[in-house]
Amino acid sequence: MHDALVKTDFITEEKHAAGRHLVLWRPTAKTGLMGWLTTVDHKRIGFLYGISALFFFLVGGVEALLIRLQLAVPNNTLLTAEQYNRMFTMHGTTMIFLAIMPLSAAFFNFIMPLQIGARDVAFPRLNAFSYWTFLVGAIIVNIGWFMKDGPPNGGWFGYTPLTTKTFIPGHSIDLWVMGLQLLGVASIAASLNFIVTIINLRAPGMTMMRLPVFTWMTLVTSFLIVLAFPAITIALVELMMDRLFGTNFFEVSNGGMPILWQHLFWVFGHPEVYILILPAMGIISEILPTFSRKPLFGYPIVVFSGACIGFLGFGVWSHHMFTTGLGTVTTAAFALATMAIAVPTGVKIFNWIGTLWGGRLRMRTPMMFALGFVWLFMMGGFSGIMHSAAPADSQQHDSYFVVAHFHYVLIGGSLFALLAGIHYWFPLMFGRKVSEFWGKFSFWVIFIGFNTTFFPMHFLGLNGMPRRTFTYDANMGWNNGNLIATIGACFLGVGIAIYFTIMIYTYFKGERVGRDVWDARTLEWSLPNPPPEYNFAVIPTVHARDAWWYEKHHQDEIKKENEEHASAEAAHGGIHMPHQSIYPLLSAIGILIWAIGVAVIDPSPEPGIHLKLGTVFVGFAFMFVSVYLWALEGADGYHIHPEPESAAPALSPEAHK
């Protein structure tokens, strides 16, 4: 496969690349602003995803703290009802679509190609386009903070008919609809890219059953995104048509069916839950074996259960709708399907414990977060099983019990894994290692803060407190639980602040470390840090599941093999690199313009071409021209000839602590 790539015609086009005319200008800056705006390097794009995600994580965190402060005491007036409703809508939307998902995407981008021994993703410019479109979507969702109509206020699942024009006439919902639509475009483009990359660009010998589990979960997640997002796309188009053109998909007075929205939304929304948790499970399945110093227990069954969750995840959506009057048979079917999905999830937990069993556990910070993940995700899983019992769920649904449940799986689950992943791969990304003391300190503050915030919410929910309420009366027995939760939230906020302060400090002044600081097992750790632009000087040949671990223990064989490959590649003109391109960014700017036209600008009462329609036209024209030039400039690249790497994998596992 690797040989075939090197020999393809379009890759040996080097001589045509120079001297193009002005329109098809090829940016070459590797540094500075232009370098970042035109980059097609998966590692840089991963970094951009990561930074954006962390920024929005901060925004969503501030929203969360405001929510908790409002609820600290009964009948509080810190926020008005309207402000509070905007706050929880934006908190949910931001954390799901603008923080957790892009943070997972950052790891997909940065780590996955390195784990399969690839030099980039399959479509580098499409990858850049995915990022810029994600950013445009994020801007559209958040632009309401600076507008008269305010940010979205329909809840993160935007139930109709509340979100129709009859009940929320302003632009706030238009922003939400358009923003989510664009985030869907970005996610689908990125996912197709990842799927093609994993299927086609694996290093020789990297069979599917040798893929690192994180890469497997990237693949499953990408399929989930590609299959799930069309459902919400349809729902959002219908809602947009209702709002902009007066159609009646959801308009009750014209016979619309609001229940249709819920089915479409949750057909997306439940796989989305797994889109958020599967990458986390992948990260955990990398970290636990590394720090237990033994392979993942039951690799095939962990992979299979991940895929199984992906399939079953499409068959349980109506458990979000147990109270909508589904009828007995439907309720029973979805209750049983939901219970069934607990089995592959439980299997993963068993296998993680099996991985620890008989290991020699190095309790480093990533390991602490990973173990924290297993505990908290397990608890979130148990409350999930409670919800699968539909009659019990009719009491818990839309109460704080549910709020507790999904924060246990999304913070205790997804976020803990992502925080573990940042710690774990930080040395690879930046060549510096976070202080163990401060890392563990932040872990304990976050762990305690998290539990103090969300554990009492189980009791609040069982005591009848509904979610999404901006206030509550003092006589309901909810005062203590809420106050404890608010104190916990402040503690959690402090923990997160410590965590990121240390990260920033480490980025600039942290302890420098060599290659493979954790004595890890997968290919990305075979690279120097930070990895060079071309990743692998020589495409590795994979002989075993834990490829790097095998290389470390079969150094002579690997050395000989690498020398052969290096000379073969040199004969084909060196390492082929894709050209940078400005057109992904310009296409995204075109999208931004028409999205503003659709969602931000008021329609004019007079007929004809006015500002709204004009902006949409200009945006579309801009986008089409950019995409056309993107196609016209071609997929050519250039070759580089790196120095033969002196620091070839000549390190023994014990040589670097």
């Binding site: 008919p161 033994k294 008989g358 020699r360 556990l361 839309d398 003391f437 009791f459 309901m476």
Partner: protein, 417 residues
Amino acid sequence: MKFSSSAFPRSRWVSFALALAGIVLLPGCWWEMNGHQSTIDVEGPVARDQLQVFYTTCWVTLVIFLLVGSALAYATLKFRARTKADEDAAPPEQSHGNPFVEIGLIGASVFALVIIAVPTLRAIWYDYDVPAMEKANAYSINATGFQWWWKFEYPNEQTEPDSTGTRGLVTTANELVIPAGRPIHIELRTMDVIHSFWVPKLAGKVDMMPNRGNRMWLEADHPGYYWGQCAQYCGDSHAVMRFRVIALDAKDFADWLANQKKTARVVSVAQDEKIEKARPVFASWKQNQTGFVTGDQLDISPLDAWRAKQFPEKEEDPALIAQGRHLFQVKTCAGCHNVRGHEGVGIAYPDLTHVGARTTIAGSLLENNTENLTRWITNPGAVKPGNKMWVEGYLKNNIHLTPDDVAALVAYVQSLK
């Protein structure tokens, strides 16, 4: 900056101690499970059945948690590298798993889920509709959600004819009165967005979906006063879209219903005595020694407070009430609110024919007393965000009320027993 874990056991013990303290302190709210909307301290067969299912899931998951958690804790503690030498020792055996362990654990998980599934399936059918053998005894109610209040209709109860001879269904708002000990069949509808009808002590929630006829059933074991709330986000005032359910024994319920069927009460000096005689008499309730239950006592004895509300206020000023009735018409209140037998004709907003006999106002947000009524009628926008009385009424119709106007309206509203 660099600290290894084994070099600083003290910091680790501090962390452990903090974690432990947290875990012990957290369930401090555990015993606060008997609030007005508790799903644990339930008082009806439907909620009790749902609670049984919940307990089943609790016990099963608790057992799994203890087993899996112990294994996880044991593995973590037992196989932890405690010293530098430990960390640097040769890697352990590179084992890849054990199919028998895997299959055994999958089998055990499936078994645990079957334990949950069986009572779940039984309860899905039981909770869905009034049991067949009790159908004959069931009582029907229609509940309709509005932004942000509730309309309750009694489909089998006709009102007495008003002056024009028109009859209608007995209709009330925000306070649902039901007979205790009888299954109540509720048809759920909405006039605008999705709402969700939830009285935790009596039954789990069921949504009011536009273009869809949902229904549910519940039953109160004994007479009582129950708190309910909308559970589906429905816009600005979702958090304060509350309601109450008052369960009465057969005799009290019949008395209450008889009064509801009457047209609105008229207070005049001459008629006063007559009205006194016509008031409902509650067999099981004795007015307490200190007089009428008011204010904070709503919490202490809410059902008594509700009963006290059924009687005319102690000091009524017929002149002020007459002025209020006049203002009710002049200030266009009558256009939206129905007061059967009086001038009120609106049907899209809460029926006020017997509003004075309710314990709460403004979508059960406020207790029904002079102070709150004054606050509410003076400036509804400041009490309940986005409410229609403010947006569609006061703002659109340019309604301005002087304090005297408000006092008269309050007296009138309070007289509508």
